[in-house]
């Protein structure tokens, strides 16, 4: 059944109630990746899903196996990643008895899954699995959990391969947008003097980046992307404004405060993007395209709501544009683009490389050396923001980050999953010294399954992002953010049988990167960087997005 859903890779960890299933799986064509901690399995399935475009699958045992998946599931839910999580459960006759390794995982994960199931009858198993995959991958994608009691797994049923599309009475996401709304959108954008597009993760999950690029170029509308939308529009394009939000570029944030029409596509106006919502683009008419109706008018008022798949919508918009006269667009757009160019010239993302390694420099060199072509996963904190700011993403599905939930420890297992999905691509986890220790054990997984992920640690000996807030808003009182005791990451890599390298001086950065990226197998590169470097620009939490702290 799993094979018929196109599953070829599963990330998992066995346990008491799953021994039978594992025994069967060994006979199938499915490749199983044994992780070192169940959280790693979910993040790996997440990374796998993003890069492969398929549903990520993980398999864990009951009780602690199941509870260890919760963080990963919540992260996938926030980031709308299609995933099916299979958890073992105690036999049905023991459910509710506080049995050994029993936990109500369906109850626990109800608010952080798109849907979940407890299968009590083996005859319902096949249909449930099919429904789960359908729900996970359609509409706004998300994680679906199926809880499988041991006796259901051991039971037999007359198996008939279900055929045809899944039809559900109560679940029919709106894919095709309303044409009347789209006509209004075109009218509004043709009229606009200072339009702006804000593109998010929805563009990436619906494969709409080409359609978006065509649309923006035709109408000469500048595009900013959210963290999740990096790569949705080519970063090197003249119309690209870079990332918006708390650590967004000066020009992106300023444009938001000055545009007359803001077209948000596949975004959810998260607080890290909007800052103070009352002032966010309050001068503009907001058009919002999203497949999830709950995202629309949740955080900001919207003039023209469009419910639909991003790709279907942009395709249709492009089609409608063929009937419009676009010859005057470049002339009409010139003053707005000039204004943006001035903002760009006034404040660039910048840092000063001194005799200590700057973390931004490491990311910039990484981008140069990999020609911007690597798949980059990140942990969470300063490392994540520097990776987002200083690595140029020209393509979608290259940047893998825990955007919504912000899970430290995400990057390494996600890189592992990404590597499974793209065995021939270079996969690099940009990490901090704090985050990497949250799931460092997954280096064992990478070694065992010969997945040559590379880890770049921007090591400042602090929990850098919290330290930055302490510096800026709490009088430099660095409470509980100093990592006084650290492992020697080079020796740690070697202990796992991986390669470990270190750079302590700026002139060593290139050499370590080149050597590390070229080395066979997993590599940890430890960059000892400026300890108290901050991420700029920064919008203090809750402040208007145009009020940035600059360097």
């Amino acid at each position: 059944m799993l094979e018929s859903e196109g599953v070829d890779s599963i990330f998992g960890y066995p346990g008491g109630v799953l021994i039978g299933l594992y025994d069967e799986m060994a006979k199938s064509n499915i490749r199983h990746y044994l992780v070192r901690h169940e959280q790693g399995a979910v993040h790996a399935a997440d990374g796998y899903a993003r890069i492969s475009g398929k549903v990520g699958v993980c398999l864990v045992t009951s009780g602690p196996g199941a509870t260890n998946t919760v963080t990963g599931i919540a992260s996938a839910y926030c980031d709308s990643i299609p995933m099916v999580v299979l958890t073992g459960q105690v036999p049905t006759n023991l459910i509710g008895n506080d049995a050994f390794q029993e936990v109500d995982i369906v109850g626990i994960t109800r608010p952080c899954t798109k849907h979940n199931y407890l299968v009590k009858d083996v005859n319902e198993l096949a249909d449930t699995i099919r429904e789960a995959f359908h729900i996970a991958r359609s509409g706004r994608p998300g994680p679906v959990l199926i809880d499988l009691p041991k006796d259901v797994l051991a039971g037999t049923a007359n198996f008939k391969q279900p055929k045809g599309p899944v039809t559900m009475r109560s679940y029919n996401p709106t894919v095709t947008p309303n044409t009347k709304q789209l006509t209004k959108v075109i009218k509004e954008l043709m009229k606009a003097k200072k339009p702006l597009i804000m593109a998010g993760g929805g563009i990436i999950s619906s494969n709409a980046s080409q359609a978006l690029t065509d649309f923006a170029r035709k109408l000469q509308i500048p595009v900013t992307t959210t963290l999740m939308g990096l790569g949705a529009f080519p970063g090197s394009d003249d119309l690209s404004l870079g990332m918006i939000g708390m650590h967004g570029t000066y020009r992106a944030n300023m444009s938001t405060g000055d545009c007359d029409v803001l077209l948000g596509v596949g975004v959810r106006f998260d607080d890290r993007v909007t800052g103070k919502t009352d002032t966010f683009a309050s001068q503009a008419k907001i058009i919002h395209v999203d497949i999830d109706p709950t995202s629309i008018r949740k955080n900001v008022p919207v003039s023209i709501p469009v419910v639909g798949d991003c790709k279907a919508t942009l395709d249709k918009l492009n089609e409608l544009l063929t009937g419009e006269n676009l010859t005057e667009i470049p002339e009409k757009r010139a003053p707005w683009l000039k204004c943006i160019a001035e903002w760009k010239a006034a404040q660039r993302l910048a840092y000063e490389q001194t005799d200590v390694i700057k973390p931004q420099y490491v990311v910039e060199r990484l981008c140069k050396i990999t020609e911007g072509k690597a798949i980059i996963s990140t942990e969470v904190g300063q490392n994540q923001m520097w990776a987002a700011q200083f690595y140029d993403f020209d393509q979608p599905n290259r940047f893998v980050t825990s955007g919504g939930l912000g899970v430290m420890g995400f990057g390494l297992p996600a890189a592992i999953g990404a590597q499974v999905a793209a065995p021939n691509d270079l996969v690099v986890d940009v990490a901090g010294d704090g985050s990497i220790q949250m799931n460092i054990q997954e280096l064992g997984t990478a070694m065992q399954h010969k997945l040559p992920v590379k880890v770049v640690i921007l090591n400042n000996g602090y929990l850098g992002m919290v330290r930055q807030w302490q510096e800026l808003f709490f009088g430099k009182r660095y409470c509980a953010t100093q990592m006084d005791v650290q492992p020697d990451f080079v020796k740690l890599a070697e202990a796992y049988g991986a390669t470990g390298l270190r750079a302590t001086k700026p002139e060593e950065v290139d050499e370590v990167l080149k050597k590390g990226l070229a080395a066979e197998g997993p590599v940890i590169m430890d960059f000892v960087v400026e300890r108290e470097e901050c991420v700029y620009p920064m919008v203090p939490a809750g402040a208007p997005i145009t009020e940035m702290l600059l360097v």
């Binding site: 369906v106 849907h115 009475r169 679940y171 999830d292 709950t294």
Partner: protein, 165 residues
């Protein structure tokens, strides 16, 4: 924005955990449930939940969208959008001392309710009507000493169009 009371009629699949999904949605997102009434619906395998909530219009919109997003929810209707009939039932255990008995029976008669249990000291009164009627009855019975109240919460259905209209 000012808060409004809305009655939502929610048709759901009759499956284990569905009520918990809805209740969890309200608690997790800080929405408010004023009353809740659940029972089987006309078609097999479906239940109707009548839920009363109070919020400003934008939050009401969000509540309805979030409910529709739940996989087991088949249909959500905001009964404020059209004509509807609302009913609630309450059982009221009221102290029935000899000097009050006649008065209680008079009130029961006026409100067209029923005494469904009688003991030496108490009457239990069954009342059906809209919320206003039940509140009015309770106000009148309070001086006699109301011992316990069990209310069902509002249940409701939208009105069908009348012939010729």
């Amino acid at each position: 924005m000012s808060e409004e009371q809305h009655v939502l009629s929610i048709l759901v699949e009759d499956r284990p955990g569905v009520l918990s999904r809805i209740a969890g949605l309200f608690s997790g997102r800080g929405f408010n449930i004023a009353s809740l009434c659940v029972a089987n619906a006309a078609s097999e395998g479906l239940s109707r939940i009548t839920l009363v909530t109070q919020a400003d219009p934008l939050v009401i919109e969000q509540i309805i969208k979030q409910l529709r997003k739940l996989i087991n929810v088949v249909k959500v209707t905001d009964l404020a959008e059209g004509p509807a009939v609302y009913r609630e039932m309450a059982l009221v255990k009221v102290s029935a001392k000899p000097e009050f008995r006649a008065e209680i029976l008079r009130i029961v008669d006026i409100f067209r309710c029923k005494v469904i249990d009688v003991s030496a000291e108490h009457y239990t009164v069954e009342v059906t009507g809209d919320q206003g009627k039940i509140t009015a009855l309770l106000d009148l019975l309070k001086p006699m000493g109301v011992k316990e109240i069990a209310r069902t919460g509002v249940t409701a259905l939208s009105r069908e169009q009348r012939n010729g209209n």
